[in-house]
Symmetry: C2
Subunit: 294 residues, 2 copies
């Protein structure tokens, strides 16, 4: 029985007769193959990557498992359509907090069409991609059983200045419920989600080490998903913080050069997360000292 | 007594009645303040940087020392003009090999004028800046006393594919004289110039660590100079490998974000140098095995 993924925060979404991904109960995610070269390019990437013997497990774990392609009934009722069959990343998660971060101050490859380059360049300049190296493409933060999720408009997240982005990444790991997101974030779970030897920062640094070395692929317009379970964090258990790379319609061959565009931007994200870990109450103490409370 | 710098490989050059930098015998380098905002911006950067107490010696050593400004007779005979007074980086060098590498796949700041952005974007796309993250802006390689320097046309260096750039960076540390630069480079001095605890790679990694952390400045259109003395290397002495950052007319404030554009590109250069150190004869052995020599 196929259904609409309950925890998608960005990208094309099924529902209301639209074409979008579907999931089944066995843990598979069906992504419609886009009809143009984006579809064939993403299939080409998954095929190459999943059979690449130089990709070791400590790196492949950051990517959705690929199970080939399959013809299934498309979500828009247009009949049988080819879909990529991927791992459903939300399997096993109850109430995941998720942020989708599109990486790269440049989302276009040098050999893209002029029309596509101009479209991307305009968007990169209008969003935080150019100044920060990435933009928030979508987010959902679990509050608690009563308040459910805080899920702001996707477009409102894309063009935030550095301080606002940092505030969102603090809210992401705070105990605030979805109804008091306006309050100062307490960063209650920063250490357990972002920190620690298996936390988000460690995973980002592991990914960074690979990007400093690998010259096989350049990842344009990909996203890093960051996920964890606040419910577990609230119970004092390991919140299962995890990063995954998704969306490979614009991956090209690296031709012996590292992906400097992705790497620099990844380092920018790492700096944001590191600063939150080092000084979670930086802003709070600033407010306090301005008010003379300290 | 002011004279034209003997070892300038890129940028505006004095001589033939043109405006360019001059040096004196006390080790100072006089750079004409460009009349437009480039001049005032570079002066603003040097003033800020040289008085910034957060810049420690292990980083400031990568920058030319700044001695203020001075009115001196311009090289084009136009009379007294304001010049930046800087450290002459070639002081103490006899026959330096020098390469000027313009860093960044993007050489324009987000807030530059539309006209300037379009001009830079065009050049970045036409040169190796976009694919490699940097372009070779100029080079001189010392051969020996008889053959002097190999100093190819600057424009011929800017748009080389990855393999050609690597070849140049190998020639840079080879014992080939300037008349046999067409021969396979032997990378005789790779280990002593690029390698070692005080070599070029170590210095680049020290600079990289700073760029992963600092959010004060974004360096657009700057160059890294790499210099050493082949004469010393030939005598088995320490060749004095050194990197310096130059050209700050397009530096802007970092505003709490790392310089992801510079950092990613710096990592790309580091990867080139690392590969040469790891496998200096990579290309040679490929040729040999194709010829059945191995």
């Amino acid at each position: 029985m196929l259904k609409i993924p309950p925890h998608q925060v960005a990208g094309h979404q099924a529902g209301n007769g639209k074409l979008g991904p579907l999931v089944d109960e066995s843990g598979r995610f069906y992504k419609p193959l886009q009809g143009d070269e984006r579809g064939s390019n993403e299939l080409k990437f998954y095929t190459s990557f999943s059979s690449n013997s130089r990709i070791l497990e400590h790196i492949s774990k950051f990517f959705p498992t690929f199970y080939g392609t399959q013809l299934i009934e498309a979500s828009d009722g247009s009949g049988l359509k080819p879909h990529l069959v991927l791992e459903d990343l939300s399997v096993g998660r109850v109430n995941p907090s998720i942020v989708d971060i599109k990486i790269g101050s440049r989302t276009w490859a040098p050999e893209a069409s002029e029309e596509y380059i101009q479209k991307c360049l305009k968007k990169d300049r209008e969003t935080s991609s150019l100044p920060l190296g990435f933009r928030l493409s979508g987010i959902q933060i679990y509050g608690n059983r009563e308040s459910g999720y805080w899920k702001p408009e996707r477009t409102s997240m894309q063009n935030l200045p550095a301080e606002e982005v940092k505030l969102i990444l603090k809210k992401f790991v705070s105990s605030n419920t979805s109804t008091d997101m306006d309050l100062q974030p307490d960063c209650a779970f920063a250490a357990t989600v972002y920190g620690g030897s298996t936390g988000i920062l460690s995973q980002l640094l592991e990914m960074k080490a690979w990007f400093e070395d690998q010259t096989m692929y350049h990842f344009y317009s990909c996203s890093i998903l960051i996920m964890f379970e606040k419910g577990l964090a609230l119970e004092g258990q390991n919140p299962g913080g995890q990063i995954k790379l998704i969306d490979f319609a614009h991956v090209i061959e690296g031709r012996g050069v590292i992906d400097h565009n992705f790497l620099g931007s990844l380092c920018s994200l790492i700096k944001f997360i590191s600063e939150i870990l080092t000084d979670p109450n930086e802003h709070k103490s600033l407010v306090s000292s301005v008010n003379g409370v300290n």
